[in-house]
Symmetry: D2
Subunit: 272 residues, 4 copies
């Protein structure tokens, strides 16, 4: 619904509702459009900010390699553009990695941090799985891309139960995605290879909630526990019976966890 | 802060803040006083209703046995007293059992239901553990009561890390609780023995969130999964690194889950 | 060390030691050679039979598609060739699927059944992940094959800790595997697509042990629980801190579970 | 079937079969009689040694307090009595604590160590639960003892499914146990209060297997993970769908894990 200029790139964003601002940062295959069904709930009591990162959705694609430091710069520029000193940020997977950079490197800009299915660093295991994603993207073959990257982001039970929906999505991807979308996915994937914010976890000042899923086959739980242990006072919820894409599988649980954490002031609860 | 008459008994309750009404039903050893630290967060955007059930806190004790049907009647009378057609209810353990009765037997009175560390029925395992609780209560010995009933409601790690706090609480219990408090606890314990709402799960119309804890040594996870499977559309969150008394161990995670679920309208989120 | 003829194909097998016969059926990327380090322990008190299935290791490859019914026929022919009426079978993943066919369709031939990281059927989730494997195999590119198929069979922690070993294995695969090996892998993958023995679980007469791994990112635990629930009296052990390839990650735990189950007579233990 | 003198006490033991010697050390409410159904399987290929510790079963009771150092001395004396330099030891819970003392303080005497549902130390949580056990024992009331100490050692599902058996056991306990048995249980419970072998884990030289249970409501999994991390090369298996008393709930899985680990030589398996 709006754009702004970031270092010569046109960046797409959406600005819904009013209230405590909540910025959402997308997972790698997501975009502002992914949140369509969530906008009413998420903007009912909040100013909801959706943002397509570089190489995502309706934001510009680039013709060079980069790291997530680019996305960090983009988010800072976006907050400056809106004149927002401080926001709550909820990041999912890739978006959680960028959110973590923000919270650790610009602690004054983030008052609440929600990290959904996020890791503090790209292990060799994740990096090598990422290579398989890149190969599938490089093929520009939508079916190969789908089979390689999509089933694993869902829990096996959800995927099996909605197999017709999954097959329809595969056809949609094949029909809609031109080669440059796969190239953009590949750049995004590579930009996360150097991700390692483990040394900055102690610098996060935002109240933090880590959201895991019971059946996450992409981000290992042990990596998420590193976040819980490294970020002072981090709370930790698990969405049961969901895979990596928990927001799609269990929207009510995801919505409750994110909005409840962002909108409640629980930091001062002292049990005696 | 207020009382009302229920079948000749004086019942204590608290009424904080304004907004969508949220009634909390206590676990067996809890009372309105247990929520003191939570009142600011829980009444910031809601009308928070705290209620001491029969034999709890500052409500009257009785001199006869009863079942949870008595507590169900009490809650209905309480809602009538306040002139509330419908409320959100969050019940913990024993309070969750009463909340489940309300939602299944008076579906029109409950629009949101949060069941924290709750079972749909009292299995023989729980019932026999309950007998050990009764024996400790019958001794009127505060130390025996504490050792039998309190460590198991916390996660081992939390209890060990706060052992000085735990020991201070034990002394407090011993000093404060007269024999009739232990007798009231024993009646409450026995009143749950006949609890079995499994046949009514399908009658629950409220949007429901089941909250479990990773280290619950009192309510088995399998029993909580019966709730998730039996109540249509139930969402399920697990509070990580917490025991049965999750609200005390992880107040931020508990607060986020409860308030987020009660205050967001996620029922209509349709993923396509 | 020996071969026999099966329907015109030369099949490789190894026959080590003496004692109660134990036949091992390989996972999809394994062969008799994978067991080299295990032979001393596994043949100390047993006659250990290793077998390369069709399209595996040193057995012949074929030039046509098939289903696991072919591998089932092969195993029956192998037992007949050795004159063995009945054996214990331990199958891993793909090999577990074949072992399950044997036990359900030829119950008299199997007296003990160990199913390690095995599913009773190929769900749509597994089948679509299998398509990504096929695409990587079809590329005949060893690096793409490795990145797609190998990291996920290990636990993230194990893979990260042994990344030098993993990289050396990748180079080895690239150097050693000619295109026809990838084609054989692809046929094996496709042959499992129609796997569905759910209706035959009740026909298994062998004493059965299901072995799962804590961090199995390939075979969902829920699928393994279907085996436990469907096969009468099945025992269930989980190898902690291991991925799908548990035998490599935790050889002592794997060896204990398999040999202990095969060599002990626990069926008659009646607790009173 | 035999006795020997230990510091003036008559100690009962059983010596079954022949082969690699395996000594079993009992959990707190167990005795040699608990193993009756297991003797055929456990003595088929091993010399099975069962031992009633001080205050257990048919061994003498004492009239003074002690620590587990007494039981450690007893086991050393027992091995000396039999002329055994080195044995495999499988200890369950209390017996595992004693086994751990042996392996850490007399490393030359233990070649294989199996620790089932065992902790390296008695945390405040366990110690305070122990106080509730002591209070129930001090009542000399068999029903109170049973309700306090027995349901929690089983998984909820097992206990519920075999409730008639459980009730019959309760009646048996009430009928058979004279007051001095409860006093002996209480001394055993107190003798574990000072248990803390965390500093000696690094001294264990025996090949070690830690066996946990999925639904252990007595020994927290985190405590068992301390053993796995502290003892070099420890293997770790979990018996699924079982509680603290896993041997009773899943005898086939328990038997496989113990005998497989004791009788296989897996230490030299090197994966390349």
């Amino acid at each position: 619904m709006a754009t702004f200029d970031f270092e010569g790139l046109t960046i797409y964003y959406e600005d819904h509702g009013a209230g405590r601002p909540l910025l959402i940062l997308n997972g790698i295959f997501m975009s502002c459009a992914s949140w369509k069904a969530f906008v009413p709930a998420f903007s009912a009591a909040n100013r909801l900010l959706l943002l397509d990162l570089v190489d995502q959705g309706r934001s510009d694609q680039v013709d060079h390699e980069y790291t997530q430091e680019l996305q960090e710069r983009l988010v800072v520029a976006f907050l400056d553009h809106l004149g927002l000193d401080q926001v709550a940020i909820c990041g999912l997977s890739y978006g959680g990695e960028v959110a973590l950079r923000l919270a650790g490197r610009h602690p004054g800009r983030v008052d609440k941090l929600v990290l959904s299915n996020t890791t503090a660093w790209t292990s060799a295991w994740l990096s090598d799985i990422g290579r398989s994603w890149e190969a599938a993207m490089a093929s520009h073959d939508g079916h190969q891309f789908f089979a390689t990257c999509i089933p694993v982001v869902y829990s096996p039970g959800f995927y099996q139960a909605r197999i017709d929906w999954a097959k329809a999505r595969e056809e949609l991807f094949v029909r809609l995605f031109p080669p440059q979308v796969y190239d953009a996915f590949a750049r995004l994937t590579r930009s996360a290879n150097s991700h390692d914010e483990r040394a900055n976890l102690g610098r996060v000042e935002a109240q933090t909630l880590v959201i895991s899923s019971q059946h996450d086959h992409v981000t290992p739980l042990d990596n998420q526990l590193e976040l819980v242990r490294g970020i002072a006072g981090a709370a930790h919820l698990m969405i049961m019976d969901a895979g990596h894409a928990a927001m799609y599988e269990q929207p009510a649980a995801f919505t409750a966890a994110v909005l409840g954490f962002v909108n409640s002031d629980s930091a001062d609860i002292e049990i005696d």
